[in-house]
């Protein structure tokens, strides 16, 4: 057998453990292996109870996010060889999420936040289908194209110190997604989304640390989206500060309409 590498993996089963603990596994160090290949090797050959999510193995399904040596990473896009000099590689579940088991985290709250920002095209004046598509130039597409690349891997939530402090903060990916629709020339829903994003749990929670952008495997740049949005929505915010009653009324009206 050739070279090997030692993985320290966080294990936790609510049926057995009070809290997570680390277990070590020695796996072959092959140059084409990513962290996910090592996890699969352990599950297939050493311990079938190791629990983690994965699917596409090509960085697009967003399932296999884990902390590798304290950094949020996609398991399928992180080569073992980049840790070759280290004694140990530590693999843990994504930070700031409740742990279901081993490396599997709870995503219910994240999905609720995504839905909250109304991530769909809002428009009521569309022509009939057979009349064809809305026109959108390549330049208009470029305005939101990068923001549409989010794979919902949640690495940015694990990187964001505000998410760690404030569970209600809607978070980087959800704000970026809202902004993706706001900046789409076909959309008419920016005002509706402002009511959600201008809330204290919306964009104003962000302290602009920029970690979300740094860890994003798709270069979505949530931090940039948040910053842009702050500038764009400053007026709404000031209105809210100066005339809080007016804002609350608007929210009530909106709530009634949505029901």
């Amino acid at each position: 057998m050739g070279e090997s590498i030692v993985l320290e993996i966080a294990r936790y089963s609510p049926e057995r453990d009070a809290e997570p603990h680390l277990e070590t596994y020695e796996v072959p160090l092959r140059k084409e292996w990513v962290v996910l290949d090592a996890l699969n090797h352990i599950k297939d050959k050493i311990d079938g109870s190791l629990t983690y999510r994965w699917s596409c193995r090509m960085g697009i399904c967003g399932s296999c996010g884990v902390m590798v040596n304290g950094e949020p990473k996609l398991g399928c896009a992180t080569f073992l060889s980049s840790y070759a000099g280290r004694k140990r590689v530590r693999v843990e579940p994504l930070r700031y999420f409740p742990i279901v088991r081993d490396l599997v985290t709870e995503l219910g709250d994240f999905l609720a936040k995504l839905k909250k920002v109304k991530p769909w095209l809002i428009r009521t004046d569309g022509p009939l289908l057979r009349e064809g598509e809305y026109l959108q130039t390549p330049e208009q597409l470029d305005d939101y194209r990068q923001l549409s690349m989010c794979i919902n891997c949640t690495l940015c939530y694990s990187a964001c110190p505000v998410v760690g402090l404030d569970a209600l903060f809607v978070g980087p990916a959800a704000i970026a997604l809202a902004q993706r629709y706001n900046k789409d020339s076909r959309d008419r829903g920016a005002k509706e989304r402002t009511l959600i994003l201008a809330h204290p749990d919306g964009i104003w929670g962000c302290t602009f640390v920029g970690e979300c952008t740094r860890v994003c495997p798709q270069h979505v740049d949530p931090a940039g989206a948040i910053q842009q949005y702050k500038v764009g929505s400053a007026l709404a915010w000031f209105e809210g500060l100066i005339m809080p009653k007016k804002r609350r009324k608007t929210e009530d009206r909106h709530g009634a309409a949505a029901d």
């Binding site: 599950k43 193995r57 399904c61 095209l121 130039t137 549409s148 989010c150 794979i151 959309d187």
Partner: protein, 608 residues
């Protein structure tokens, strides 16, 4: 035990399942609809589709040409009524996706841009750079969030269909997070679980593609159709099997053997031109290109790597700008996973299992022969793909037949009364089976991964690009043996919380059934057609096999095969011509005119 109830259940949350859910919701807002998926919907394998979705939209194109390309591409095994419905509805569905926000790539004037694709005579493939499936899936998922009647069971794994007297009444599923087993009853169930690439060792398919829906339907008594037709995509990255989209060749990429020679010119696919020519050379159909690779390998003209023989895909002459604009994901994948830059370097590629033409037999509305059971997308066989699917038809198929199946299921469900006799008892039995066969069992001697590896090697060796009787017969026996050994599987994991090892064991069971069906159908089809190439029967045999294979499961687990004639409407079987300045359009037009005049279609001869 809990039982929950809905009008319609969609099993699977990819493009077909989500499109079906929206279609059902639009039939009647009062219907209760639920999507049950073993992964969060945005993880579904639709996400990996790269190149595009076909639909006629440009003035120089026509529905007849799309139909003819599809039918000739499918080596005349497509049902032509289904193809006609498909090509007609595909453009509307793609516009619908546009209205929901899909970021399709555009012409400078703002109209939809289309690109060339293999086997297509006109440019008609809509694309969102080279992440088309990703954008379609996220657009659909995000759109479903605004439909209140659509409930979701995320990370619920369906183990069994509830059947009473031949009628499908719902499913039994495990909630992965808790391990809870539950019956979910419904008036209609639509299977949208995708394909089964993981039956093979080297595949573009995600880990979740285990043929779940095919096995569920087969076990419930529905026939599988045309399971011998497995598509190898000609350009997968070695080791990972990651797909390099056909769009790379549509944009002008070359396939080169180890001498740097565009070898496809030796395989009746045309003569090399510097620019891509439609239905020619690198833009030939996938079955013919994958077969050419094997021949080239036999001639010793491929390169050897630790992960099998390869040829090269050359994109260097396209230039950095085009690659970044049209093929950014190809570049990203090569850099990340192959450590090479296609702007400057050759990409090593080899054929890789990609798509299942066969599946659960349905009609044009997704109805299976079992009342209450529907199927759409890759899990189904309508069939529009025949013996070989054309690239970019499958995403459009998910939309067209997802909508049709969702609608048909909703209309059926609206007329049914609540009826779930025996559901609870069946769910109890299933729970007992899971406990006794897996969770409570001790002393089993087999490991899931070991049997899975042997199954994959067996299927690859016998039912790969070329097949012959002796190895198929041996494979059938080996798979029977693996079925028996799978009964003796022992798990390391006996807990209820997110037990992925239990899930793998159940998926292995599904895959073994699917593997057997592939080998069985391949063994009985003694001809060569499209992706099914028998070295012992090298010619197409329309006299005996212009027919769909239908595989039924017997009570004892064995199978029986029957054949059903192909539906021919306007395009009588002909020669598949690629790369030659032939007159297919005119021939086709003549055939169409004649067929329209005398209103007669060629009768399909039935195989006995």
């Amino acid at each position: 035990m809990d039982v929950s109830d809905h009008d319609i259940l969609l099993v699977g949350g990819g493009a077909a399942g989500l499109r079906a859910a929206i279609a059902a919701a639009e039939v009647h807002p009062k219907l209760s609809i639920a999507v049950v998926s073993k992964v969060y919907p945005m993880r579904s394998h639709t996400v990996s589709a790269e190149g595009g979705a076909a639909g006629v939209i440009k003035a120089d194109d026509s529905l007849d040409e799309h139909a003819y390309d599809t039918i000739s591409g499918g080596d005349w095994l497509c049902d032509q009524d289904a193809v006609e419905a498909f090509v007609k509805e595909a453009p509307l569905e793609l516009v619908q996706l546009e209205r929901w926000g899909c970021p399709w790539s555009r012409e400078p004037d703002g109209h939809i841009a289309v690109r060339a694709f293999g086997g297509m005579k006109k440019k008609r493939t809509w694309f969102a750079a080279d992440k088309t499936g990703f954008h379609m899936l996220h657009t659909l998922f995000q759109t479903t969030l605004k439909y209140e009647p659509i409930a979701r069971y995320d990370e619920w794994f369906v183990t069994k269909l509830l059947v009473d007297d031949g009628r499908v009444l719902g499913v039994v599923a495990i909630e992965l997070m808790s391990g809870r087993v539950q019956a979910i009853t419904a008036r209609a169930v639509v299977l949208c679980t995708g394909g089964c690439g993981r039956v093979f060792p080297f595949t573009t398919n995600a880990n979740i593609k285990n043929g779940d829906g095919m096995a569920l339907a087969y076990r419930a008594g529905a026939p599988l159709k045309d399971m011998e037709f497995v598509q190898y995509h000609p350009t997968g990255l070695p080791f990972t099997g990651i797909l390099v989209t056909e769009a790379a060749r549509a944009e002008g990429g070359y396939l080169l053997n180890k001498e740097g020679y565009r070898y496809l010119q030796d395989y009746n696919l045309g003569t090399p031109e510097p620019k891509p020519v439609l239905r020619s050379m690198e833009l030939g159909p996938r079955d013919r290109l994958s077969q050419a690779f094997v021949k080239e390998e036999q001639k010793g003209r491929t390169l050897t790597t630790p992960y099998g023989s390869v040829v090269h895909l050359d994109l260097r002459h396209l230039g950095e700008r085009t690659i970044n604009l049209k093929l950014p994901f190809v570049r990203e994948l090569c850099l990340k996973y192959q450590n090479l830059d296609p702007v400057k370097e050759l990409i090593p590629v080899r054929p890789v299992v990609h798509y299942m033409m066969g599946g659960v037999s349905t009609d044009v509305d997704g109805c299976t022969p079992l009342p209450g059971l529907y199927a759409a997308g890759e899990v189904a066989c309508v069939s529009i793909n025949g013996a070989n699917r054309l690239g970019s038809n499958s995403l459009a198929e998910c939309l067209v037949f997802g909508r049709r199946a969702g609608r048909a299921a909703a209309l059926f469900a609206s007329e049914q009364r609540v009826h779930h006799r025996n559901a609870l008892a069946q769910a109890h039995d299933e729970q007992k089976r899971l406990e006794s066969q897996f969770l409570q069992k001790s002393g089993g001697r087999e490991r899931v991964a070991a049997i899975r590896e042997q199954m994959q090697a067996t299927v690859e060796a016998s039912a790969g690009i070329y097949r012959e009787e002796p190895s198929l017969t041996r494979a059938a026996a080996k798979l029977r043996e693996l079925q028996e050994r799978a009964e003796d599987v022992s798990l390391d994991d006996h807990s209820h919380t997110f037990n992925t090892e239990l899930q793998s064991a159940l998926e292995l069971g599904f895959m073994l059934d699917v593997a057997e069906s592939i080998v069985e159908c391949a063994l009985h089809r003694s001809e060569s057609r499209g992706a099914h190439q028998r070295t012992d029967y090298p010619a197409r045999d329309d006299g005996n096999f212009l027919a769909h294979s239908l595989l039924f499961r017997n009570e004892d687990g064995s199978s029986r095969i029957a054949y059903m004639p192909v539906k021919i409407t306007q395009w009588p079987p002909g020669e598949r011509i690629y790369g030659r300045p032939q007159e297919p359009a005119r021939e086709t037009t003549a055939a169409v005119d004649q067929s329209r005049q005398d209103k007669q279609s060629l009768p399909a001869r039935r195989a006995s």
